[in-house]
């Protein structure tokens, strides 16, 4: 299993890094965020932009970069099936999954596991 996981990561990581600047959180929600990776947000916000977004749509922390969530909102408008998934309340990040394959975690159901005290209002 370890070997298989390493092989999958060897494919997934360079591919998703190249296309989405993926950070390998291991619990991908790109389809709910207009294909803009929320882990690129310096505050790791999974549920929408912070209040610091600049008037030109750039990041509070990196003034020369577009806000990840401005891109997420625009991207979500263009998505046919998952358009409204941006309204879903995303559960807290499981930091134990950092660096693992989100593809494997999706198939195994591991990425859908929320803390026991978390009440789901609609998952990713």
């Amino acid at each position: 299993m370890r070997v298989i996981e390493r092989l999958v990561v060897a494919v997934e990581k360079p591919l998703k890094e190249a296309v989405w600047d993926c950070r390998m959180c291991g619990q991908c929600i790109l389809h709910s965020t207009g294909l803009s990776c929320p882990m690129r947000c310096p505050k790791n916000l999974r549920n929408g932009p912070c209040g610091g977004v600049r008037a030109n749509g750039n990041c509070e922390v990196y003034p020369d970069k577009r806000c990840v969530w401005v891109e997420a909102w625009e991207g979500s408008r263009r998505l046919p099936v998952f358009k409204d998934h941006i309204e879903h309340l995303q559960k807290p990040v499981d930091w134990q999954l950092q660096g693992t394959s989100s593809w494997i975690n999706l198939v195994s159901g591991r990425d859908g596991v929320a803390p026991k005290g978390w009440e789901a209002h609609g998952s990713s």
Binding site: K43, C50, P115, G117
Partner: protein
């Protein structure tokens, strides 16, 4: 069910609420906090204690809020996810409840790069939306995020924030809706200087049916000088100060600028009060508690309803 706080009681009764921000101190002497808070006593319904505002270190909001409870002034404890992970956040929430804090406002927080320790590690273990859900879980289901049971659940009045002026403007009401679904009872907004944009935001919020589900309290800033207004426009993340406001202060002689700032704030209070769904105002005199008093008076917000603070602050355990 008894209201968890005086603020909750007033809002649920349909009274127009007035809150204000307390300047965070840098003093180990509680008198410093009490002196500032005393200025606000009687002219507002509850007082926000900020959590390392602008990412500058100050006395903790938990300690400041407890100091207010001791003096019978109802606090609203702000808590950011910037400086604490999920363990520390829950620990502080429960501790706050035990110390008599009922109103909380949960937010992301200005980034560390905006503050006096830009080299600090930012935490953001969970986001503000998730913290609202966690606090609601502690209150409504009596459990920590882990699922472990609390011996006694806290009775919070849960607040959140929204910035109607930051892009993407069309997403902001939807984000607000997410916060309401997560458990927010009231919202304090970013400072409103631009009434037309705020009016449009409120109409979108109304279209989503949210004005019946959450109390929305716009923040009104009280600029003390043209220089202060320029600083807010240029240095404070997410703050939208129209040029007209800055120009108006610049045209005013320096000796009269603070008075002009009061007038600007009073006009803003009167304007937002007319907007459907606005449940109160949050007055922010930047390091200027006396300004809050003057605006409350001139805007006709005084006297505040007399509810015995003992009936709620620290009560209903």
């Amino acid at each position: 069910m008894a209201a968890p706080s005086r603020l909750a009681g007033l809002l649920r009764d349909g009274r127009f609420a007035v809150t204000a921000e307390l300047t965070s101190t840098n003093s180990a002497d509680p008198e410093a906090t009490w002196r500032l808070a005393e200025v606000l006593r009687g002219s507002v319904d509850a007082v926000n204690c900020t959590d390392n505002t602008g990412a500058h270190v100050h006395m903790s909001s938990l300690a400041a809020a407890h100091l207010l409870v001791e003096k019978g002034i109802e606090p609203i404890m702000q808590l950011t996810v910037r400086d604490r992970n999920r363990l520390a956040l829950q620990a502080d929430l429960l501790g706050a409840a035990a110390l008599g804090v009922r109103n909380i406002v949960l937010m992301s927080g200005d980034d560390v790069t905006a503050g006096d320790h830009p080299e600090a590690r930012r935490i953001y273990d969970i986001d503000s939306m998730q913290l609202i859900e966690v606090a609601a879980g502690m209150r409504d289901r009596g459990v920590y995020l882990s699922g472990r049971k609390l011996e006694q659940a806290p009775s919070f009045f849960i607040g959140a924030v929204e910035n109607p002026f930051a892009p993407p403007l069309e997403f902001r009401p939807i984000r607000l809706q997410k916060k309401v679904r997560a458990g927010a009872d009231f919202i304090q907004t970013q400072l409103v200087f631009d009434v037309p944009i705020f009016t449009r935001f409120m109409s979108m919020v109304g279209d989503l049916g949210l004005t019946d589900k959450v109390f929305i309290i716009p923040s009104i800033g009280i600029p003390r000088s043209a220089r202060g207004a320029r600083y807010m426009r240029e240095k404070v993340p997410g703050l939208h100060v129209p040029d007209a406001v800055v120009h108006r202060l610049e045209k005013t002689p320096p000796a009269r600028q603070s008075q002009e700032g009061i007038e600007i704030a009073v006009e803003l209070v009167k304007a937002v009060r007319e907007i459907p769904g606005v449940a109160g105002v949050h007055l922010i005199g930047i390091k200027w508690e006396e300004g809050v008093l003057q605006v409350a008076e001139a805007a006709g917000l005084l006297p505040r309803p007399t509810v015995s603070p003992l009936a709620t602050v620290g009560g209903s355990r």
